[in-house]
C-alpha cells in the first residue's frame, strides 16, 4: 500500500478535497499492482485541469471541488434500442448483467483489473481503471464478439444519485465479428468516469452509438481506447448534451492495414452545460482512413470544445486518408466554442485535411424560411437540425430516430 500512497503525495502537494476523497476510495480496498499503476497514472496529474495542454478548456479540478452525491438519479430515458437488445447497467455501486446472451456474444467478468496501456495519456480513464467495481462487483466486464451479432448491446450508465460511478468495459471483436454497441450515459453521479476498451480484429466491425446527458452539478468522462486491425471498421456516433464538465474522449489506433474509422459527434449545450469532444487518431498502419465530422450548437452560458488530432507516423502511415471537420453554431451571444483541430504528419504520401468553422446561422437562410411563413424560432430549429443531421446519420442499433428526436426536442425548446 505504501508505494501507492507514496506515489500520491509528491504529485498531490495541494490535493483538492475531491482528489483526497478519490485517494481514500482507492486506499480503502486491497491494492493490487495493476490498480496501483492505474491510480499512479491518475495521480501524476490528479483531476485534469486547465494547465495541462490537453485540458485547457475542460477543467475537472475546478468543476469538482468535492465529491458529493447529487439529487438527480439520472437524466432522461436510456436510448430506445432495437428489439432483442441485451442491456448492461452500471449504477453507482451496482452492476446488472443480462441473463441470456444472443448468439456470437460471450460475456466475461474479471475481478482483477487488467493492465491499462497508455493510462498516462488519459487520466480520467486511469481513474476509472483504478476504481471501477471497487469491492462490489467485477472490475471489468468483457464482451467477446465471436460472430455477427444480430442484436445490439446496450450499456446504460446511471449513477442513481451516488457520489461516483465508475465502469470499465472491454469489447473484443474477433476476426469477422460484428456488433452494434449502444451506450446511454445518463449521469446521476457527482463524478462519472467510464472506460471502454475496444479491440476490433481483422475484418471485424463495430458500430458504437452513444448519448450523454448530465446537469450542472455533475462531471462526466467517457473514454474509449480503440484498436483496429487489418480491414477492421469502426463507426462511432455520439450525441452529447453536457454537464458541468463532460468529456467524450476517443483514442484510436489504426493498427492494421486498410482499417477504417468514422468518428462523428454532435454537441448541444444549454446554459451552464459544457461538452468536450476530444479525439486522438494514430494512423499506425498504411492505407487507413478516418472520417470525422463534429457539429455543435451552443446557447448562452454553454461551452462546446472540440480537440481533434491525427497523428501520421513516418513510413507506416503512408497512404493515410484522413479528414476532420468541426463546425459549430453559436446560437446566442454568451455562447463559447473552443476548437483545436490538430495534424501531426511525418509521412509524405498522405491526404490529411481539417476544417473548422464557427459562427451564427446564415441570415439569408433564416430570411428565406421566414418569408415562407415559418416563425423565427422554428426556422432556427429547422436550420440547426439540418446543420447537425450529417453527424448523426451513421448512428446504429435503431437509435438514429431517437437521437434526431432528442436533438429536435432540445432545439425546439430553445426560444431565442
Amino acid at each position: 500500500m505504501a508505494p501507492a500512497r507514496g506515489a500520491l503525495s509528491p504529485t498531490f502537494p495541494d490535493a483538492s478535497p475531491a482528489e483526497r476523497a478519490l485517494a481514500d476510495r482507492f486506499m480503502a480496498g486491497t491494492v493490487d499492482g495493476r490498480r496501483g499503476r492505474a491510480f499512479e497514472a491518475f495521480a501524476r496529474t490528479g483531476l485534469p485541469h486547465r494547465r495541462l495542454e490537453g485540458w485547457r478548456w475542460t477543467d475537472f479540478r475546478a468543476a469538482l471541488a468535492t465529491l458529493a452525491p447529487v439529487t438527480a438519479t439520472g437524466h432522461g430515458q436510456a436510448l430506445p434500442v432495437a428489439d432483442g437488445a441485451v442491456t448492461l447497467r452500471f449504477s453507482g455501486e451496482e452492476i446488472f448483467l443480462p441473463d441470456s446472451l444472443p448468439d456470437g456474444l460471450i460475456l466475461h467478468t474479471k475481478a482483477d483489473a487488467p493492465a491499462l496501456a497508455g493510462a498516462e495519456e488519459a487520466p480520467m480513464a486511469a481513474l476509472a481503471a483504478a476504481l471501477a467495481g471497487r469491492g462490489t462487483g467485477p472490475d471489468t466486464v468483457i464482451l467477446e464478439v465471436c460472430g455477427r451479432v444480430a442484436e445490439p448491446v446496450h450499456i446504460v450508465c446511471e449513477g442513481g444519485g451516488a457520489e461516483v460511478n465508475f465502469a470499465r468495459i472491454a469489447v473484443i471483436v474477433r476476426p469477422g465479428g460484428a456488433l452494434d454497441l449502444v451506450e446511454s450515459h445518463l449521469g446521476g453521479a457527482g463524478l462519472s468516469s467510464v472506460l471502454i476498451e475496444i479491440d476490433v480484429a481483422a475484418s471485424g466491425q463495430l458500430r458504437r452509438t452513444l448519448s450523454q446527458r448530465g446537469d450542472a452539478h455533475e462531471a462526466q468522462a467517457i473514454t474509449a481506447l480503440v484498436h483496429l486491425d487489418e480491414g477492421a471498421s469502426y463507426i462511432q456516433t455520439a450525441l452529447a448534451f453536457g454537464a458541468r464538465v463532460a468529456r467524450i474522449e476517443t483514442r484510436l489506433v489504426h493498427r492494421g492495414t486498410g482499417s477504417a474509422a468514422v468518428l462523428n459527434g454532435v454537441y448541444l449545450c444549454a446554459g451552464g452545460q459544457h461538452v468536450d469532444f476530444t479525439s486522438h487518431v494514430r494512423h499506425g498502419a498504411p492505407a487507413c482512413t478516418t472520417r470525422q465530422v463534429t457539429k455543435g450548437a451552443v446557447l448562452k452560458g454553454g461551452r462546446g470544445v472540440f480537440q481533434g488530432k491525427f497523428l501520421v507516423p513516418r513510413d507506416i502511415g503512408q497512404h493515410t486518408d484522413a479528414d476532420m471537420q468541426h463546425q459549430a453554431l453559436l446560437l446566442e451571444q454568451g455562447a463559447e466554442v473552443f476548437a483545436k483541430p490538430e495534424l501531426e504528419i511525418y509521412a509524405d504520401d498522405v491526404e490529411c485535411a481539417h476544417g473548422n468553422t464557427s459562427g451564427a446561422l446564415d441570415p439569408d437562410m433564416l430570411f428565406y424560411l421566414r418569408q415562407r411563413g415559418i416563425p423565427l424560432t422554428e426556422a432556427r430549429a429547422m436550420l440547426t437540425q439540418a446543420f447537425i443531421a450529417e453527424a448523426l446519420a451513421a448512428a446504429g442499433g435503431g437509435t438514429h430516430e431517437a437521437l434526431s428526436a432528442a436533438a429536435s426536442r432540445f432545439l425546439s425548446g430553445v426560444s431565442l
Binding site: 463559447e336 476548437a339 483541430p341 476544417g355 468553422t357
Partner: protein, 517 residues
C-alpha cells in the same frame, strides 16, 4: 557538409513524389547548408561582457549604453522575474538545454558603439554588409537598389530604403536619417532613442510585450542590447522603406535586440527585417522582442526574411530563434500586417501576433516557412480580437524537406465584446520526402455568436471547385494546378516589399507543383 544530405539521393530515389519537378528538387537543394551564402564570419576585434548572466551582466550592459536609472531598474526587475521562470517546452521542437552561463550577452565591435559617420565604421563591418548586399552608403542605395515599380511614375523614381545595421549587440549605422527627420520620422537605434526620446520609450517600451510575457521575452527585457526605434508622427506616410539588418558575428554570443515601432494617428510605415549569421558549429541564441503600436487609422507593414544560419545537414550548429513579436492595433481602423519568409535557424519558436483592440482594426499574417536538414520550426500567429468588427487573415505555407519538422501553431481568439469579428485562416503544408514532418496546431476560441471564423488546413491539393473552374476554361489538370498553386504562393510573396520579394524568391524557388497528395 557536402552533398551527402538527404536531398542528394533524392532525385534518383523512389521517395520523389510524382509531379514534383526537377526544378523543385534543385531549388530545395539550393537551400542546403553548403549554399548558405551568408555563412562567412568577420574577423574584427570585439569587446564582450563577461561570459554568463547575473545581475552584474545586466548592469554592465546598461552601463555600456550609459542608460538612465529607470531603464536599469526596469532591466533588473525583468532579470529577477526571469530567475523565477522556466523555459517553455510545449513547442514541437527539440534542442539541447541552453547553458545561459556559457553565452556572451553582449558583444560589440571595439572602437566605439556608434559611429559618427560611415567613414568611422570599421572597414571589416562595411565589407560584411557589402558582401551581404546591404546598402549602407546612401549614394549606393540611390544608385543600386531599384525595384520594379508598380506605376510608370514610380519606375522613374528609384526606390530607397533606409537601413539600421545591427552588428552583434550594437547598431553600427543608420542611413537616411536626415531626410527622414525632415518628414518628422524618427529612425534610430533604440539605445540612442533612450537618450533622445525618453518619453516615447518610457510610454511604449514593454507596453505590447510586457516584461513578464514569456521566458525569452523576459530574458530580452533584462539584457536587450540594441535594436531599432521608429516613430512616425500623425498623418505621415513614411517616405521610404525602413529596414534593419541583424548580423550575428561573434562566437558564443546571443543576440537580444529590441525593436519598437510606433505609428501615430493616420501614419504609415513599411519596415523590413533581415538577418544572417556565420556558419558556426555551436548553437547561438537569438531572443528578440519586437513591439508595434498602431494608433487610430495607422498602418504598419512588417516584413521579415529570416535567414539565420540553420546548422549543417547533421544538425550541428545553427541559431536558436526564440522571438516574441507582437503588434497592438490600439486605435480604431488601424492595421498591422506581418509577412515572413522563414528559411533559416536551427530551431524557430516565433509567433508574430496582433492584438486587435481598436474597433474595425485589421491584422494580417502571411508566412512561408521552409525547413530543411534538421531544422525545426514551430511558428504561426495569434490574432486576439477585442474590438468590434475586427478582421484578421492568416495565410501560412509550410514546406518541409530533409529531416526537418515544420509546425504551424496559431491562436484565433474572439473576445466577448468583439462584435462581428471575422477571421480566415488557411495553412497548407508540403512535405518533400518521407523523413520530415508537417504539423498544424490551431487554437480557435470563439465567444461571439456573430463572429465568423473559418479555418482550413491541408496537406493535399487545391480546392476541387477552383480546379474544376479552371479546367472547364480549357486548361489541363497540370496547368490548372500550377496556375492555382503559383497564384496562391504569390499571395504571400506579393505581400513582401519588392526588395525583399526578390531576395525571398531567390531563397525560395521551391515550386509547389505536385504538392503532396
Amino acid at each position: 557538409m557536402g552533398g551527402s544530405g538527404f536531398l542528394q539521393g533524392f532525385a534518383m530515389d523512389s521517395r520523389v513524389k510524382d509531379g514534383i519537378d526537377q526544378e523543385t528538387v534543385a531549388a530545395a537543394r539550393a537551400l542546403e547548408s553548403e549554399n548558405y551564402r551568408a555563412g562567412f564570419s568577420t574577423d574584427i576585434e570585439t569587446e564582450y561582457a563577461p561570459k554568463g548572466l547575473d545581475e552584474s551582466t545586466v548592469r554592465f550592459i546598461s552601463a555600456k549604453k550609459d542608460e538612465p536609472d529607470w531603464l536599469l531598474d526596469w532591466r533588473l526587475k525583468a532579470y529577477q522575474r526571469w530567475l523565477t521562470m522556466t523555459e517553455p517546452d510545449w513547442a514541437m521542437v527539440e534542442y539541447d538545454p541552453i547553458n545561459y552561463q556559457d553565452i556572451y550577452f553582449y558583444a560589440a565591435p571595439k572602437a566605439g558603439a556608434k559611429y559618427e559617420s560611415l567613414d568611422d565604421v570599421p572597414r571589416e563591418i562595411l565589407e560584411t554588409y557589402e558582401k551581404l548586399g546591404i546598402p549602407l552608403r546612401e549614394a549606393e542605395v540611390l544608385l543600386g537598389v531599384e525595384g520594379a515599380a508598380e506605376t510608370a511614375a514610380a519606375a522613374r523614381e528609384p526606390r530607397r530604403i533606409a537601413v539600421d545595421a545591427v552588428f552583434d549587440s550594437v547598431s553600427v549605422a543608420t542611413t537616411f536619417r536626415a531626410e527622414l527627420e525632415k518628414a518628422g520620422v524618427i529612425f534610430m537605434s533604440i539605445s540612442e532613442a533612450v537618450h533622445q526620446h525618453p518619453d516615447l520609450i518610457k510610454a511604449y517600451l514593454g507596453s505590447v510585450v510586457p516584461q513578464s510575457d514569456n521566458y525569452f521575452a523576459t530574458l530580452n527585457s533584462a539584457v536587450f542590447s540594441d535594436g531599432t526605434f521608429v516613430y512616425i508622427p500623425p498623418g505621415v506616410r513614411c517616405p521610404m522603406e525602413l529596414s534593419t539588418y541583424f548580423r550575428m558575428n561573434a562566437e558564443n554570443t546571443g543576440q537580444f535586440e529590441r525593436t519598437l515601432i510606433i505609428a501615430d494617428k493616420g501614419a504609415y510605415v513599411s519596415y523590413l527585417e533581415g538577418c544572417t549569421a556565420p556558419m558556426r558549429d555551436e548553437n547561438q541564441l537569438h531572443a528578440a522582442v519586437v513591439e508595434l503600436v498602431a494608433l487610430d487609422d495607422a498602418e504598419i507593414k512588417y516584413s521579415t526574411v529570416q535567414n539565420w544560419w540553420p546548422g549543417d545537414e547533421t544538425g550541428k550548429g545553427g541559431i536558436y530563434n526564440f522571438v516574441t513579436k507582437r503588434g497592438d492595433c490600439r486605435g480604431p481602423r488601424s492595421k498591422i500586417s506581418w509577412t515572413q519568409v522563414e528559411t533559416g535557424s536551427a530551431v524557430t519558436w516565433k509567433y508574430p501576433s496582433c492584438i486587435l483592440r481598436g474597433d474595425d482594426s485589421v491584422g494580417e499574417f502571411y508566412s512561408i516557412a521552409v525547413t530543411n536538414g534538421r531544422q525545426m520550426a514551430d511558428t504561426g500567429t495569434k490574432m486576439i480580437h477585442l474590438g468590434k468588427r475586427t478582421r484578421s487573415r492568416i495565410i501560412s505555407k509550410g514546406i518541409s524537406a530533409g529531416r526537418s519538422d515544420n509546425t504551424y501553431r496559431g491562436l484565433v481568439s474572439i473576445n466577448g465584446k468583439a462584435a462581428q469579428a471575422r477571421n480566415f485562416t488557411q495553412c497548407d503544408s508540403l512535405l518533400i520526402g518521407g523523413d520530415c514532418g508537417a504539423h498544424t496546431v490551431p487554437y480557435v476560441e470563439n465567444r461571439r455568436a456573430d463572429a465568423q471564423l473559418e479555418h482550413e488546413a491541408t496537406t493535399t491539393k487545391l480546392s476541387e471547385d477552383q480546379l474544376f473552374y479552371v479546367r472547364q476554361r480549357g486548361l489541363g489538370e497540370e496547368d490548372a494546378v500550377a496556375l492555382l498553386v503559383n497564384g496562391f504562393v504569390r499571395e504571400v510573396l506579393q505581400e513582401l516589399p519588392m526588395e525583399f520579394a526578390v531576395e525571398a524568391q531567390s531563397l525560395l524557388k521551391v515550386s509547389l507543383e505536385g504538392s503532396v497528395g
